[in-house]
């Protein structure tokens, strides 16, 4: 279960606060997955008590956008801490799906990759099994193929430290790279943080989704949770 709250001493009008929180959550807490299970209890709330002397913020206020951006950034940090603490997690993975015709499709594809047991197992085993990433993209439940054109798709592993080459191309414009540098792939996959970059080449929308690997410890924890 995901629970959380954000509190501030700003005075914020209630509907503006709801707009602020809902927008922040859609780019943070609703873009994470540890195991693909949605709890019956998930709740994020925000309180603004107006304890500081300031003009009450509503959706027309000059500071509305700025405060909204700060709340979104806060929510992203809190959401990512949850993924970093995923049960048994040894890897923190950013799935970055960009240049999509629609945000909705980018999110569906990112979430599908993030919830693939086989992708998550390979990440735990530090196995550069990128075919599973393609497979997950291929079964994503998209309404149509406006955002997914097999001849334009690019998939890469991105190193999250300062080592180079930073990007390891796995699929280039729909063509699988059979001669990938396996040693470099292993180096990248041995890092605690990893980025999987999917460039759909069909538009300009993008979605960042955060997930973790699937380890033996996850099964151990959840095999006898009630105890």
């Amino acid at each position: 279960t995901l629970l959380g709250f954000i509190v501030t001493d700003l005075p914020i009008e209630t509907t503006a606060l709801q707009t602020m929180l809902s927008g922040a959550v859609n780019r943070s807490f609703n873009c994470i997955s540890v195991d693909g299970d949605m709890s019956t209890n998930d709740t994020i709330c925000m309180l603004a008590n107006g304890a500081i002397n300031a003009t009450k913020i509503d959706e027309n206020s000059e500071d509305f956008a700025k405060v909204s951006a700060q709340v979104t950034e806060f929510a992203k940090q809190l959401a990512q801490l949850v993924v970093r603490d995923g049960e048994g997690a040894t890897k923190f993975v950013t799935v970055n799906v960009k240049n999509s015709a629609k945000f909705k499709d980018a999110k569906i594809i990112a979430e599908t990759i993030s919830n693939s047991m086989l992708v998550k197992s390979a990440l735990y085993g530090q196995d550069a099994n990128w075919g599973r990433i393609l497979c997950a993209i291929g079964y994503s439940k998209l309404d149509n193929l406006a955002s997914l054109d097999e001849s334009k798709i690019n998939v890469s592993f991105i190193a999250t430290d300062t080592s180079t080459p930073r990007e390891l191309k796995l699929v280039s414009n729909g063509v699988p790279q059979f001669d990938i540098d396996e040693a470099r792939a292993s180096e990248i996959l041995s890092l605690p943080d990893l980025e999987i970059l999917v460039d759909l080449g069909t538009g300009s929308e993008e979605c960042q989704f955060w997930t973790c690997d699937l380890s033996h410890e996850y099964v151990t924890i959840n095999g006898d949770y009630r105890s």
Partner: protein, 206 residues
């Protein structure tokens, strides 16, 4: 090996100090619901009286919404998001798939806090833990009374960190972030946030 991972994460992600917004007090204690004896009950309350607070929330879209979710939704609808002055969090028992009895238990917890803060409909609830078991009301109710009678509220870093610990279940570290910001006219304000979660995590809240 897992201990070493826990150590790394705690050292890496848990702050050692923080800045906290004006007008809030926090408290937490071990009510006995968690078998381990760890803190499992927390309350954050708004003590600012200069104006009514504003509250907003997003909730699970799972069809089988737990009692605290249904109860909190109703509080926000009833008050249109105004005048929420307390959030009660309990861990160890999710009060989920508990039907009408679970709703009654949720109401009892909230009404006890409402009485103690002198409000009606001023309390939101959050629960997490085992699904399908009822709240151990005796322990939680006694814990709430202890918090108020022994004046356990504070506004310092340890108080906020312990509140972040009181909502944890299989988490290996408390998740707390705090920061000060400035409005365009230079007015300084503070955001503080906390979260919990380690399993059953793929939210789609609305």
């Amino acid at each position: 090996q897992s201990a070493s991972k826990t150590l790394d994460k705690y050292a890496q992600f848990v702050p050692k100090s923080g800045v906290f917004p004006k007008g809030y007090e926090v408290a937490s204690l071990a009510s006995g619901v968690k078998k381990s004896g760890a803190v499992d009950l927390g309350i954050i309350r708004n003590v600012n009286k200069s104006q009514k607070s504003s509250a907003a929330a997003v909730f699970t879209t799972n069809r089988f919404k737990a009692a605290p979710v249904l109860f909190s939704k109703k509080v926000l609808e009833t008050g249109s998001g105004e005048g929420v002055d307390a959030i009660v969090v309990n861990s160890g028992c999710a009060n989920s798939v508990t039907g009408e009895l679970g709703m009654q238990d949720a109401g009892k917890v909230a009404n006890q806090v409402n009485r103690l803060i002198g409000r009606s409909d001023g309390t939101l609830l959050m629960s997490t833990g085992v699904i399908g078991q009822r709240l151990q009301l005796d322990k939680i109710s006694k814990g709430i009374d202890t918090i108020f009678q022994e004046q356990k509220f504070s506004a310092d870093f340890d108080g906020w960190l312990n509140l972040a610990k009181s909502i944890c279940t299989t988490d290996t570290f408390p998740k707390l972030i705090t920061s000060k910001f400035k409005l365009s006219d230079g007015t300084e304000y503070t955001l503080t946030g906390m979260s919990k979660g380690a399993g059953m995590i793929c939210p789609n809240m609305a």
